[in-house]
Symmetry: C2
Subunit: 433 residues, 2 copies
């Protein structure tokens, strides 16, 4: 599995998300032996993950095998495995199975996960949404809650089964809350006999004074009103202080306790733990504070890209957000720098003593969009605020185009068209108990 | 959850497969309170399950929520739960969670599973294919085998990782072997760098002297040759005498041992254990030997339908095969008889002392088809032998039509068209480890 030190320089990319994949693609044709390592066999179109969690799409609609995506790139191999340790001095990555991979350039793009603010015991009670397994887990939980409600005879227990609490008012929380409200109100009522699914209670809890805090204040207000119209209770300035198997406890005296069978977690950010072992400074969430060129201090051969990298935009002084376009741009930036240096000096690889002068990473903000239920979205595009139906059409267009390169776009489009016309959800399957 | 004894007669259907679902549908409009109980929330189009196992289709393409299928049938409710015991004297079914459901008519359509011929310890080593969970398990195993082979440096271990043994030469075994051979030879070669997936060894082991023993001898010969052309080694008259984590042991002295990382089980039939608790005679596989009207002796209110019923065709003297059309026809027959009696005598329900004269179940054999890889099939339709490309076109047409009533047919058709044109498989996802 390991590669000899003879031959073209070895570029090792950890992670097959947007940053890792776009870095690998940028290295197509370069005189390098590229290895992309990921612990799953697929690249995931993460912005649509909530649609798998809410039974609109199937896993295969938003994921493609990484080796299939890169099949034509002869200088790149794809390995299924998990990085366990990095030794920057020896330029060696050790895998969970004990094997090791050497490198001349390393790109760490391992992403972030959700965080429970020091309450990891809440994780099994309130699952987060980061990969396909999470999405199927959430789908099973919320569909099962309706099934159990249909069989429940105790009114209080039935009420708890029809109560859904979503913690975190970022894009994921907003999109989950909107989608669940819509399914309960529109797609399900006719299927059930004993319960009225339209009576389901959906509560979105956000600790800050507004939803979508990374968006404009105007978008936040619009999202709030759109969710209220869908019947979602939005609780701002409210923190969760307890999660148990019967619901959540809040710090808000007005509604301290909510009995709910389903609690979903869409809050907090925790960086992949390997980031902290690079020897570079990290922020409170564990993200690696990188140099302007995305490398770590004193190691010009080690790049960090994607959500794991904490980058401050020199133009605005603001932090670059953890969104898909930023990850793609960082991946491409790292790939371009490596490709350029390989052209100039195929070997030996650059020495830490002589870091070459490199261009800084510049983030191009094309905008952000979040959907709220059916045919509504909020956000900004090239600096312009957008909302409502036009924003949703734009969201649809952008996501269909982004799925290009994969063959799933026709199937996804049909699924969406079907869901839009009929309010039905095609993937309402409980696949485990 | 239980229903009062007042009101229209209660019809309880156990199982939401073809027999149970078609029985429920036949009771639409009847003066009855119909309950359909299933341990999953979805009806599964089982003939295409192997396509989920071999990464052609997604679970949602071949499954629909039962309550969605029956949403317009006001006299029918759908419950998610597992029947644990049946008390025919008390006319009561107890569920796994301890609750109970009474009935005036009972239709037991719980189906069959695969059997390991007294070697249940083989089950975790050689998974069978009966539900979506099995299909995803098999998909994960065979995709993971290629991933592990790509990283393996020991030639013997790599060889074992690229060896796939399928036990059982019925339709499921034949279809699995053909599909796996085709993926390895056509879809995967370009994606891998260290292994040549075209060198994969696929062995199909069958205990009897021919494949597809329920089909005509001509179809068996054709299937054999079609599989050989795809590079599948077919071993007839051969039994598996041992399964371990490194492969299988056969009773054939010529090739006693096959080292294989992936062993799939497509042999044997074992009836749902509840069938034996009805107090009716059962056959060696545990299937219930029913009266000509599909009821059990002395209990005109208890029907058994689908694969769980053992029915001999009075016309041919042959056993009616465990295929989807037979299950649908049995379900409809039971539903029709119940509907007719409810029209005549809405209450009280029929008494065992006075069994009414009822028409016998008559099986209409419309034919059977099995696909072998891409664009090939064998079987018979209305008594005519068919094979090759025309048979495959027929198979495609029949399955698309059968999926009607569900919305998945367009998506399935696109997936198939894509797979046919490009040899690619859209659902090549490993979703758990």
């Amino acid at each position: 599995m390991s590669q000899s030190t003879d031959g073209p320089p070895r570029v090792l990319i950890l992670g097959g998300g947007f940053a890792g994949l776009y870095c690998a693609r940028r290295l197509a044709g370069a005189n390098a032996r590229v290895t992309l390592l990921d612990r799953t066999n697929h690249h995931l179109f993460q912005p649509l993950l909530y649609q798998v969690a809410t039974a609109s799409l199937s896993p295969a609609d938003i994921a493609s095998p990484i080796r299939w995506v890169l099949r034509r790139q002869a200088n790149c191999r794809v390995l299924l495995g998990e990085a366990a340790a990095i030794d920057p001095d020896a330029r060696l990555v050790t895998l969970a199975d004990g094997s090791a991979l050497g490198y001349d350039y390393l790109v760490v793009a391992l992403g972030v996960s959700h965080a429970y603010f020091g309450h990891d015991e809440w994780a099994p009670l309130a699952p987060g949404l980061k990969d396909l397994r999470d999405a199927l887990d959430i789908r099973n939980r919320f569909l099962s809650a309706f099934e159990r409600a249909e069989r429940e005879t105790d009114p209080a227990a039935q009420r708890a089964l029809l109560t859904f609490v979503i913690v975190g008012g970022g894009p994921t929380g907003v999109e989950l809350a909107g989608a669940i409200a819509e399914i309960a109100r529109k797609a399900m009522p006719r299927d059930f006999r004993a319960v009225d699914t339209r009576a389901a209670r959906i509560v979105l809890v956000e600790g800050s004074p507004r939803l979508l805090s990374a968006y404009s204040p105007r978008a936040s207000v619009r999202a709030y009103h759109d969710l209220e119209r869908l019947g979602v209770e939005v609780r701002l300035d409210t923190h969760v202080v307890g999660v148990d198997s019967h619901g959540v406890t809040l710090d808000n005296p007005a509604g301290k306790r909510i009995d709910a069978a389903t609690v979903l977690w869409a809050a907090g950010v925790r960086a992949s733990p390997l980031g902290a072992r690079l020897g570079a400074p990290t922020d409170r969430q564990g993200r690696v504070i990188v140099e302007p060129d995305l490398t770590i201090p004193g190691r010009p051969e080690v790049f960090v890209a994607g959500d794991l990298a904490r980058v401050t935009d020199p133009a605005t002084g603001r932090e670059i957000p953890g969104v898909a376009p930023a990850a793609m741009q960082m991946g491409r930036h790292a790939g371009a720098l490596i490709a350029r240096e390989l052209l100039r000096a195929p070997s030996p690889p650059p020495s830490p003593a002589l870091p070459p002068a490199r261009p800084s990473f510049v983030y191009r903000d094309k905008g952000t969009l979040a959907t709220i239920g059916r045919a509504r979205a909020v956000g900004s595009v090239w600096g312009l605020a957008v909302a409502g139906y036009p924003a949703w059409m734009l969201w649809l267009l952008v996501h269909i185009l982004y799925l290009a390169g994969f063959r799933n776009r026709i199937v996804v489009l049909i699924n969406w068209a079907w869901a839009y016309i009929t309010y039905q959800r095609g993937a309402r399957l409980i696949t485990k108990e």
